[in-house]
């Protein structure tokens, strides 16, 4: 087990001489019998981006909630500028200068940008809201942060990324000393992340202490100055980002589980593609405004990776292959049977499974138990009149909880109480239980911790080795390349390249995507 270390011994840099704006010392929080946080200490310095690192369940969210007054701490001390504070409500924490922006934007969609930014603090004249003054103040703040948005526009009209920036603008407008960003980048594309980082840097330079949570290591290395690594509710270490290699960081975060990733790297593609039986052939599959006519053949025992940017058509192709959306054009041939897919039900009957990229909206049934969630697809295909016998239920659920290492290992736990990684494993189990021949996974590892990620990747490789045909879609090129035997590259709603994955590099793929981009943009200049 890692020994606890007190932060001051670890970091001996000039920064350490400065006073932290917030210091949390020996914080413990207990829920029932579970110790969610066990003597964790964190120091936040002004003008620094501080990354909280750790797997899901490491205690990051609990720590944030302790700092924002959502949970009251059982023991430990929180000091702000050397003064001891106790927060019993989010309001008290906000008054002390701590602002939070959560992963899901919680603003009012049908109000304007300015109204959202000044909600509850609207400038008034003669009792009525002074709209002009409100827009002026909002514009000033936005300008100051370099966010190019009309304060009079309705929030809803803007993409999530912009809404998130507005949320940040709102947060810093209340004179925040500390800004907490809890996974703000999980649904943003690269450009949007860059915009967010620009704003973060500007705030940092003004002396705001920023707490940043993200699953993307590259982003941490780009933006963060210091990080605190947690594991299982305990402090592992506080580190300066510049003095820690990625490999070291991953090892600190997940300890032994790194070996799983290593082993997987070696075990990956044994390219004997095109050897197996074609299970599904799509010819000219397309849908208006969604996907241009696309050809694709899936073979037994092969992982097909689909690479492409957000909106490139990768998700759209998956949905057409599953009948989640109906195709306007093209033909699907299953083994030798030609069929149209009119609903997911048709696809499931043809032994196809599809796990959506939108886990929350299109996968998880939050108020049902883990067991019910796992058995949903199988039960649906049996029809309601033929319930799965109790013994079979228990057997299947226990087997998959064990095989996929789902935690808590409690079939009766409510799905919504599980972490993202564990929910994803339950959804994977839901489809494996139906014993599909074709498994389509759209971003199965997004927003989940690195341990669960490794486990899911290992499972995919194992399933393909057993003869399943897997379509693997991910925004992370490294992951797609590591897993797939064959690679399909998409861009602008069509397939632009397909090749056997014999050590294709990330650079190759990026160039394929970018090359198309250059060719298309040239005439405009």
């Amino acid at each position: 087990m890692t020994q606890m270390q007190t932060p001051p011994d670890v970091v001996a840099t000039p920064e350490a001489a400065r006073e932290p704006v917030i210091e949390m010392r020996d914080i413990s929080i207990t829920f029932g019998a579970v110790r969610a946080l066990d003597g964790v200490s964190v120091r936040l310095f002004p003008g620094e981006v501080h990354a909280l690192m750790g797997e899901n369940g490491a205690g990051k969210s609990t720590l944030i909630k302790a700092l924002t007054g959502v949970y009251s701490i059982d023991s430990g001390v929180i000091t702000i500028s050397g003064e001891r504070h106790e927060f019993h409500s989010p309001a008290a924490s906000q008054e002390a200068g701590i602002s939070t922006v959560y992963q899901e934007v919680n603003l009012v969609p049908n109000l304007t940008v300015a109204e959202n930014m000044l909600l509850g603090r609207e400038p008034r004249r003669l009792g009525a809201i002074n709209v002009r003054e409100m827009n002026r103040r909002a514009r000033r703040t936005l300008l100051h942060l370099g966010i190019d948005v009309d304060p009079r526009s309705v929030l809803d009209e803007h993409p999530i990324a912009v809404q998130q920036l507005v949320a940040i603008a709102r947060a810093v407008d209340v004179e925040a000393k500390v800004l907490i960003l809890d996974e703000p980048t999980s649904s943003l594309d690269a450009d949007e992340v860059e915009k967010l980082f620009t704003v973060m840097r500007r705030l940092r330079d003004e002396g705001v202490a920023i707490v940043f949570v993200s699953h993307f290591l590259d982003q941490i290395y780009e933006i963060a100055d210091r990080m605190t690594i947690l594991r299982n509710g305990r402090l592992v270490e506080e580190r300066l980002v510049s003095e820690t290699s990625q490999l070291e960081l991953v090892r600190l975060m997940i300890g032994r589980e790194l070996e799983v990733l290593d082993r997987l790297d070696r075990a990956a593609p044994q390219t004997d593609a095109e050897e197996g039986t074609p299970l599904l052939t799509a010819v000219g599959l397309g849908r208006k405004n969604t996907l241009e006519a696309t050809d694709l053949t899936l073979y037994e025992g092969e992982v097909v990776g689909i690479a492409g940017l957000l909106g490139s058509g990768r998700t759209e192709l998956a949905r057409l292959l599953f009948g989640a959306d109906t195709a306007d054009t093209g033909e699907l041939t299953f083994r030798s049977e030609r069929r149209k897919l009119r609903s997911p039900r048709h696809a499931i009957d043809r032994k196809i499974a599809f796990s959506s990229e939108d886990r929350k909206a299109e996968g998880v049934v939050g108020d049902l138990t883990v067991a019910d969630n796992m058995l949903l697809a199988l039960q649906a295909s049996r029809g309601w009149l033929r319930p799965i016998p109790q013994a079979t239920r228990t057997q299947l659920v226990d087997d998959y909880i064990q095989a996929l290492d789902i935690r808590p290992a409690d079939p009766q736990a409510l799905m919504r109480n599980l972490s993202g990684g564990n929910q994803q494993k339950v959804l994977l189990a839901r489809w494996l239980i139906t014993q599909p021949e074709i498994l389509i996974l759209d971003e199965p590892t997004r927003g989940i911790d690195i341990g669960a990620k490794a486990q899911i990747q290992a499972k995919v490789a194992e399933l393909a080795a057993q003869g399943m045909s897997v379509v693997f879609i991910s925004a992370e090129l490294e992951e797609v390349l590591r897993l797939s035997d064959r690679l399909v590259v998409m861009r602008d709603r069509r397939k632009i390249d397909e090749r056997v994955n014999d050590d294709v590099s990330v650079r190759d793929v990026l160039e394929t995507i970018a090359g198309e981009a250059r060719a298309e943009e040239a005439p405009h200049d």
Partner: protein, 361 residues
């Protein structure tokens, strides 16, 4: 010690706690107002008393509420149940009046069967509008709520039809094993619904569709069939309620039979703890909710509330019960949990913090 605390906690967290508590309080109010309220005696070979009346009177609301529970669990609502009840009464009564032997058992059975089949068809019509045509449930069932009154008027030619069939009137006033037949019918339907939903996979699939329709669709759940089924079932339940109400007066008034019963039924469902947002449902909760509504109706004359303000009284009680169930409202009244002293670990004061953590690890 700890075992008792967990048991207490389990009771405190039980979803049925608040509805049952509300019912107990309501009964206590009645007992205080009239100490003989709970008295039950044998008379004419069956039980007799306020409690028995309440059980009997709860039957129509309970029947309607059972169907409503499943509809609400799929994120729907069925406003047409009152009108369907009226149609059931109208169809059954006109069949009985028009039969050769008005007082025969077969006449009653035929009339009842005929009426219930009509109600299933009407429920399926609602299901068609909601699941196939995609009309919002509140609008889809509003159509039949309005049109249904017209249909029942047409069936009875706008007349109050009185019937004379002892078997039919037994539906409301008969007793079996000293208990009111109407209540036993409601109980039987409750048991049937429980078996239908919990012994098959129907309940789980209903809940899945209600909690996350899109995820259910992608998992291959045939939401259409399920929604169709629950509306048809709701129609059947409403029909049974209508027959019990008609049998109670041995007549049918197409204008007033089952008027506002949809609201009582929705209340019973909500008081029972099933969320109007859909998802998890509780048949036991609906049972308690229906008894509560019937008890409330009895309370009004019993404690001497003037009849002019009985709707107002009912509204106030319902608001109170709903507030009791709202976690946010309860939090306002609850005293904040005092933080425990940080004496959880062994010898916390003597040891420096890292050492303590080491021991725990």
């Amino acid at each position: 010690m700890t075992e008792t605390t967990t048991r207490v906690q389990r009771v405190l967290r039980h979803p049925l706690l608040w509805p049952v508590l509300a019912l107990v309080v309501l009964v206590l109010v009645n007992v205080v107002a009239r100490p003989s309220f709970l008295d039950v005696r044998m008379q004419d070979g069956h039980l007799y008393g306020n409690v028995i009346d309440i059980l009997r009177n709860s039957a129509p609301v309970m029947l309607v509420a059972l169907g409503m529970t499943l509809v609400i669990a799929t994120r729907g609502i069925d406003l047409s149940v009152g009108a369907i009840a009226a149609i059931a009464g109208a169809v059954a009564c006109t069949r009985i009046v028009g039969a050769g032997d008005e007082a025969a058992l077969t006449t009653a059975v035929m009339a009842v069967t005929y009426a219930l089949v009509v109600c299933i068809v009407l429920g399926a019509w609602n299901g068609l509008l909601v699941s196939v045509l995609g009309i919002q449930p509140i609008i889809a069932t509003l159509i039949l709520m309005v049109a249904g009154r017209g249909i029942s008027m047409a069936v009875t030619d706008g007349q109050i039809t009185t019937v004379n069939n002892p078997f039919f009137s037994d539906l409301a006033s008969g007793f079996v094993l000293t208990l009111p037949l109407a209540f036993l019918i409601a109980l039987a339907v409750l048991a049937f619904t429980a078996v239908l939903t919990r012994r098959t996979a129907l309940g789980m699939l209903i809940e899945a569709v209600g909690i996350n329709p899109e995820a259910s669709r992608l998992a291959g759940v045939r939401a259409r069939t399920i929604i169709w089924t629950v509306y048809a079932f709701s129609g059947l339940c409403a029909g049974m309620a209508g027959l019990v109400i008609a049998a109670n007066t041995n007549s049918v008034n197409a204008n007033s039979l089952g008027l506002w019963i949809e609201l009582d039924a929705i209340l019973a469902v909500v008081i029972g703890g099933t969320s109007l947002a859909g998802g998890r449902f509780s048949l036991a909760g609906t049972f308690v909710g229906a008894i509560f509504i019937a008890t409330l109706a009895r309370t009004i004359p019993n404690i001497g509330i003037p009849s002019e303000i009985n709707y107002l009284f009912k509204a106030i009680v319902v608001i109170a019960v709903c507030l009791l169930q709202s976690p946010r409202a309860r939090a306002v009244f609850r005293v904040r949990r005092t933080p425990r002293p940080p004496a959880a670990g062994p010898a916390p004061t003597a040891e420096p913090a890292p050492a303590t953590a080491g021991v725990r690890a």
